[in-house]
Point group: C4
Chain length 256, copies 4
C-alpha cells in the first residue's frame, strides 16, 4: 500500500445530496466527540473505510482481542429526513503530504455523492482552563458566513490568527474549488484535555443547524468526569500561580 486506499463496505445505495460532517481527532477531541455522538444517536451506518500509509504504522485492539488497522471511516445517517455523511477516524495523517492526499480523496467522495455542504468540526485552543460556550467559525463563502451567524456561530475578523492546521481547515479551503460550500465550526477549549463540555456546546449549534434534537446524556456524563479533573487542575493553578500547570498521568488517560 503506497497510496491511501478506499474500501467501500456497501455498494449501490442512494443518497440525496448529503451534508458531510467531519469530526477527525484534533484539539480537545471536540470535533471527534461531536461526530461520534451523532453517529451513535442517529444510528448511522459505516459505509466506507480509508487506510493510508500516512497513518501511524500501527493496529488498534478491539475489546475481544481482534485487531483493526488505524483508519478513517465514513458513516451514513439521517437527520430530519436529510442524508448526512460522517467522516471520523482514529488519526489524522502523520505527514504534510498525507494531509493533502487524504483531503483530496475525501473531496472526491464528496463530489461523487454531490455533497452540497461540508461542516468540519474542531476545537479552538484558548490556553485557559475556564469553559466558554462560544462556537467560532470560518467558511469558504461569505454568504454561508451570514447564514451560519444566525445559529449563534461567532466569526471574528482574521481569527484564528494562526490559521487552521489539518483536515478541518484544508477541507474547507479546497472544497471551494470543487464548488462545495464549507464551514469549520470550532468549540472553545483549553486544549489540554479531551473536552466533552465544549463538544456539548458545539453539538447544540450543529443540532440547531440540522433542525434536530438528540439525547446528550453520554456526552454530559463524560463532561462531568472531565469537570472534576478540571476542578483539580484549577485548584492546582491557584496554588501554583507561577508554575506551569500540566495534567497528571492519571488525567492523561482520559485523552484519546
Amino acid at each position: 500500500m503506497q497510496q491511501s486506499t478506499l474500501v467501500r463496505l456497501k455498494e449501490n445505495f442512494e443518497l440525496k445530496k448529503p451534508i458531510m460532517v467531519v469530526g477527525l481527532p484534533g484539539v480537545g477531541l471536540v470535533g471527534k466527540l461531536v461526530a461520534e455522538h451523532l453517529i451513535d444517536e442517529l444510528k448511522a451506518e459505516k459505509i466506507m473505510e480509508v487506510y493510508s500509509p500516512h497513518f501511524p504504522p500501527q493496529v488498534l485492539i478491539n475489546k475481544d482481542c481482534t485487531v483493526r488497522p488505524v483508519s478513517n471511516m465514513i458513516y451514513h445517517g439521517k437527520a430530519n429526513g436529510n442524508d448526512i455523511l460522517f467522516l471520523v477516524g482514529d488519526h489524522q495523517s502523520t505527514t504534510s503530504q498525507g494531509h493533502y492526499e487524504l483531503c483530496s480523496l475525501y473531496l472526491d467522495i464528496a463530489e461523487e455523492f454531490e455533497v452540497p455542504r461540508i461542516y468540519t468540526l474542531g476545537g479552538y485552543p484558548t490556553g485557559k482552563l475556564s469553559s466558554d460556550e462560544t462556537v467560532m467559525g470560518v467558511a469558504n463563502d461569505t454568504g454561508l458566513i451570514e447564514e451560519i451567524k444566525k445559529y449563534g456561530v461567532e466569526f471574528r475578523e482574521s481569527e484564528p490568527s494562526g490559521g487552521i492546521v489539518g483536515a478541518s481547515g484544508l477541507l474547507v479551503a479546497f472544497s471551494r474549488m470543487r464548488g462545495i460550500d464549507a464551514a469549520c465550526l470550532m468549540g472553545m477549549t483549553p486544549g489540554y484535555l479531551m473536552d466533552p463540555k465544549s463538544a456539548q456546546f458545539l453539538l447544540k449549534v450543529l443540532c440547531k443547524i440540522f433542525g434536530i434534537e438528540v439525547n446528550t446524556d453520554s456526552l454530559a456524563k463524560k463532561a462531568e468526569e472531565m469537570e472534576s479533573i478540571l476542578e483539580k487542575l484549577k485548584e492546582k493553578e491557584e496554588q501554583q500561580t507561577f508554575q506551569e500547570v500540566k495534567p497528571t498521568d492519571e488525567d492523561l488517560r482520559y485523552i484519546g
Copy 2:
C-alpha cells in the same frame, strides 16, 4: 531502487499451503530469536530476499569481511510434514510509509503461496525486570482466538491498550482483507534488552501449535547469559530504588 524489491533465490518449487511465521526485530528481539531458532533447528532454506529504500541506508559486514545490504528474508522449512515460510530480517522499515508498503508486499507473497494462516511473533513490554511465562495474543478472527487459547495463549480484553506498532500488527490486521487467518503471539519481556528467556516461552507455545519438538540448547545458553545481566540489573534496582535503572554500555552490547 525507489521501491522495495523482491529477489527470488529459487524458482518453481512447490509449497502445500504453507503457514507463515514472522519474526522481525522488535521489543526484546523475542520474535526474531524464536523465528531464527526455528530456521536453524528445522534447517530451513532461504528462498527470497527483500531490499527496500525504507531500510537504513547501510550495509552489514559478514565474518569474512564481505558485505550484505540490510534485508528481510523468507526461508522455507518443514515442521511435522507441513510447509512453513519464515519471514525474518535485519531491520523493519524506518518510515511509516515503508511499513505499509512492505506489509503489502509480504501479503502479496502470502497470497501467491496460498498461505492459510500467519503467526507474527513479538515481545510485549512489561517495563518490569521480572520474568513472566505468559504468552499474549491478538488475532484477526474470533474463531482463531478460541483455537489458540487451547495452546495456553492468553487473550486480555483490549490489550495491548497502546495497540501494536510495526509489521507484527499490520500483517495481522491487513491479512483479514486477503482472507488469511492471522494471530500475533507475544512473549512478555522487560523490553530493555534482548530476551532469549521470553523467546523460550514463546517457542514452547509455537512448537505446541505446530505439534513439534525442537532442541532449545542454544536459546537456553543465550538466556543464561542474559540472566546474569538481569541479575546485576536487579541488584542495582534494589540499591537504587528511586533512581532510573538503565543497562550499562557493556550490557547493551548484547542487544541486537
Copy 3:
C-alpha cells in the same frame, strides 16, 4: 493532491518576454516585502496559484473569516512598458524534495512565457543589528554579473560562503540549464526580524534596473515601526553586552 498543482486564473493573455521577479518568504522577509510592494504599486494582477503537498497542511484566515490554502502565486504587472511576472507566496516548501519540485514547476512556467531573465530577491543575514545599505548579488552568468554591478549591486568573491538555501538559490542555478539568465539580489539584514528598511534599499536597486520610480511610503512606514523596535533592541544590547539578544514576544508579532 500528491503533486504540486498549478491553477491558471486567466487564459489566453499575451506577454512579451516578461522578466520574472521572485519574492518568496526568507531571511528578514526582504524579498517578499519588495515583491509585494511592487505588486501593489504596479497594480499587478494575479494570474496563477500554486498549491502543493510540500506546503504546510494549513489554511490561512482572511479578514472576512473566509479561508484560503497556503499557496504561491504569480502576478502580472507592467514596468516601463515591459511585462513582469511576480512570484510570491505564503510559504516556501517544507521539504527538500518539494523545493526541487516547485522550482522545476516555476521554471516550466518561465520557459512557457519565454522569460529571458529572473531576479530572485532575498535577505543576506549579517547577524548584526546595524543597518547596511549594501545589496549583494550572485548570478548564473558572468556577463550578467558585469551588467548588474553597474546598478550598485556588490559581488564578493565566493560569498555567501554558506551558499543560498531555498528557492532564491535553486531558481538561479537551475535556470542556467534552461538558457535563462538569472541573478539573486540580497538586501543586508540582521536576520532576526522582518526588515522593511533593507527592503527599501533592495527596492531602490531593482527600480534602477527596471528604470522606474515607485512610491515607497508604505514600506517607509513599516520601516519606521521596525526602527523603533530595533532601537529598543540596540539599547538592550548595550546594557547586556555579554548576554544573547533576543526579540521579545511582542516584537515577534511583527514577523511574517
Copy 4:
C-alpha cells in the same frame, strides 16, 4: 525535479572497461580528498553531473559569484593506460530513500560502461586523536579480498562492526547483484575533522593498486595544516583529561 537527474556533458566517447573510484563526502572527508586529489593529478575530465531532490535544497557559490546546484559528478581519467571513472560530489543524499535511489543510478552508469570493479573510498572513525597508517577493507567477494590484501589493506573479522552507512557501503553490496566486483577501502581517522593525513595513507594504497605514482604535495600541505590543529587538540586533551574535547569554531572552518 522529482527524481535524480543525470546530465551527460559529453557524448559518444569510448571507455575500455573503466575502474570506478568513488570518493563522496564522509567520515573525515578521507574518500573525497583522495578522489579529488587523483582527479587533479590525473587531469581527469568531468563527463557527467547528477542533480537530485535528495540533496540539500541549496546552491553553492563559485569564486566569481556564479552559482551551481549541489551535485555529484563523474570524471574520466587515465592511470597507467587504464580508464578510470571518478564519482565525487558536494553532498551525499540527505534521505534514506535517496541513498538507495542514487546508488541504483550510479550502478546503472557502471553497467552502461561495463565497469568490472568499483573501489569506494572512505574513513574509518577511530575516535582517537592519534594517527594510524592502517587502511581497512571490506569487499563483495572473497577472491577480491585475497587480491587486495597483497596491497597492504587490512581485513578484520566482522569489522566495521556497526556496518557502513551511505553510498560507500551500498555501492559495494549492491554491485554484487550486477556482477561487479567491489571493495570499500577506509583510512583510519579520528573522525572529528577533515583528515588529509589519513587520505595520504589511503592514496598510497590506491596508487599501489593502480601501479601509478602521483605528486602528493598539495595533500601533504593540507596534512601539515591539520597536524598543527591536531597538536593543539592533543595539548588540550592532556590538560583536560576528564573533559570532552571538541574542536573550536576556528578549527571547524577547516571541515568541508
